[in-house]
């Protein structure tokens, strides 16, 4: 459960102000908002990267401040998928996805057999097995986006935050991504995922709950009609 109380979010200027909002666990939420409405800022606040201007925000048992102060705790508690991953020279897709296991590894960063089989399983779920040994800087943007999702799944945290994870994906892969995310939250009642998106139609079609960001407010809509959403925006 994500709890937000009397919270003000923003860098120098106030962008979002939330009196009270509770997002129950076991759900997938899509963050919808116009350009510049502060979607990324909100997500960065959720993972404790951007300090709150005021108020309380907690993911399950931990406040974002507590997560900010303990990187290892945060790494096991919330994973983050950034909107763009440019790839790294000589880093294979397999090695990149494996980095998700890092918080659980010993001092020398060695993967155990169970870590490796987990990675292989996630790769095959996302149809990435054939690309496993390609260098990440030689993949397409879309392939890298799927790889980022794989890395977050492998990190095996109760909370997952994704910043426009589908922006480079084609129609089929968008569907795959949403299915995988829904699958991920439903397979464990403690899991919660929030992703930002502009693809309202697909979200409505999949019956995903919408978090609509408009005029410094955040509104939760369950099963809305498209008109309702558009009116808010």
């Amino acid at each position: 459960m994500i709890k937000i109380e009397n919270t003000q979010i923003g860098h120098q200027q106030l962008l979002i102000s939330i009196d009270e909002l509770k997002l129950p666990a076991g759900q997938l939420y899509a963050l919808i908002g116009r350009n510049g409405s502060g979607k990324s800022t909100f997500l960065h606040s959720l993972i404790g990267q951007l300090p709150l201007r005021a108020g309380q925000l907690s993911l399950g048992n931990f406040s974002v401040q507590a997560l900010h102060n303990d990187h290892l705790l945060r790494a096991k508690h919330v994973s983050f998928v950034q909107s763009m991953f440019a790839g790294v020279e000589a880093l294979t897709l397999h090695a990149y996805v494996s980095l998700g296991r890092l918080p659980y590894l010993g001092a020398f960063g060695r993967m155990q057999d169970k870590d490796l089989s987990f990675v292989d399983e996630v790769l095959s779920r996302l149809n990435l097995t054939s690309l496993a040994h390609r260098a990440t800087q030689n993949l397409s943007d879309g392939e890298r986006q799927l790889a980022s999702l794989a890395r977050a799944i492998v990190q095996d945290t109760p909370y997952m935050i994704l910043d426009e994870p589908a922006s480079f994906l084609d129609y089929f892969n968008r569907e795959l991504l949403l299915d995988q995310l829904q699958n991920w939250v439903q397979s464990n009642a403690k899991r919660t995922a929030i992703f930002s998106s502009h693809d309202i139609d697909l979200c409505l079609e999949k019956g995903i709950k919408l978090l609509v960001l408009h005029e410094q407010k955040l509104t939760l809509l369950e099963n809305p009609s498209k008109k309702e959403v558009m009116d808010l925006l």
Partner: protein, 314 residues
């Protein structure tokens, strides 16, 4: 560790042993086989090459990780210049009675650490690699200028000593200094091995590394510390040696196609040693006809490779 990396590492180890025995027997072939010459000249010279090669390429690998830039290295970023500056202050400024070998090493390490920290702060402000390299160059010529000013007050004796040190050499280290340098380099390697997790995450950048649970600030200070320990102590005993730190880690990534720093550290250490020992074997081979300074050969082999890397990045 990828299974393919293991044979490569084994091969590098075998190569190092082969080159080392060539190095020792290369001298022996010239008719020298007395005990003193062996223990006081041949062994320290071989150890200089092995330790300096290992330490410099490891410090290059760490700097490239810290700056998230494959063109970083202890020489191009002016780390050597920092060490050099403090050494020259020591040689030219302090009285000869104060001058002992340990203070040499500690001065060089301090200089290296200050220079590395300075360059790191600068790197936060400039984003592109060209500006950073130019600033490294400026920093080197600035320390060079300060050294020249200091030299104008110094006795010719001291200037000569500094000049000799500045040329870089694998033959200056004594048998008594060798264990000390070995300890510094080994400590550097061991600390680096304990940083592997963080180093692996750092290739994704600061923010991602933090998300993966890495204490990024602690890691960065550790890298600066290890780099200063390695580059500083080696520079103190062997003078500034160029290109090893820049070229070898790039070679490691190109050959092994990995970002797993356990493999990269082990390979860089072995390949760096092999590189400098091979260069010194060449110097020994050419000895009867001409004597080649070590930096001439590292530059002759390293510079074209680095230039090729720069061109390929475009």
């Amino acid at each position: 560790m990828k299974r393919t990396s293991f044979p490569v590492l084994l091969f590098m180890l075998a190569l190092l042993i082969a080159l080392s025995s060539m190095h020792l027997f290369g001298l022996q072939a010239q008719g020298i086989s007395n005990r003193i010459v062996f223990w006081e000249f041949q062994i320290p010279r071989l150890l200089s090459a092995v330790l300096a090669g290992a330490g410099l390429s490891l410090s290059g690998l760490l700097m490239q990780n810290l700056f998230q830039n494959p063109m970083a290295g202890p020489y191009v970023l002016g780390i050597n210049s920092g060490a050099s500056l403090l050494i020259s202050i020591l040689i030219l400024g302090a009285g000869p009675s104060v001058l002992n070998q340990l203070s040499y090493a500690s001065a060089a390490m301090m200089g290296a650490f200050l220079a590395a920290s300075f360059m790191f702060l600068v790197a936060k402000r400039v984003q592109n690699i060209q500006s950073l390299l130019v600033i490294g160059l400026m920093f080197a010529s600035f320390t060079g200028a300060v050294e020249s000013v200091l030299q104008s007050f110094a006795a010719p004796e001291q200037i000569k000593q500094l000049f000799i040190w500045n040329m870089g050499s694998l033959q200056q280290m004594s048998a008594a200094q060798a264990p000390l340098l070995a300890v510094f380099v080994l400590v550097g390697i061991v600390i680096a091995l304990f940083l592997i997790k963080g180093l692996n995450a750092m290739v994704l950048g600061d923010a991602q590394a933090r998300q993966l649970g890495v204490k990024v600030n602690f890691l960065k200070v550790s890298i600066l510390f290890v780099t200063a320990l390695l580059a500083g102590s080696i520079t103190a005993y062997c003078g500034p040696i160029a290109f090893v730190g820049l070229a070898i880690p790039n070679l490691a990534r190109a050959i092994l196609r990995t970002q797993d720093h356990l493999v990269l550290i082990l390979f860089s250490v072995l390949a760096g040693s092999c590189f400098l020992v091979a260069i010194d074997v060449l110097i020994l081979l050419f000895d009867p006809w001409m004597s080649i300074p070590v930096n001439v050969l590292t530059a002759a082999l390293g510079a074209p490779y680095v230039a090729y890397l720069m061109l390929r990045r475009r």
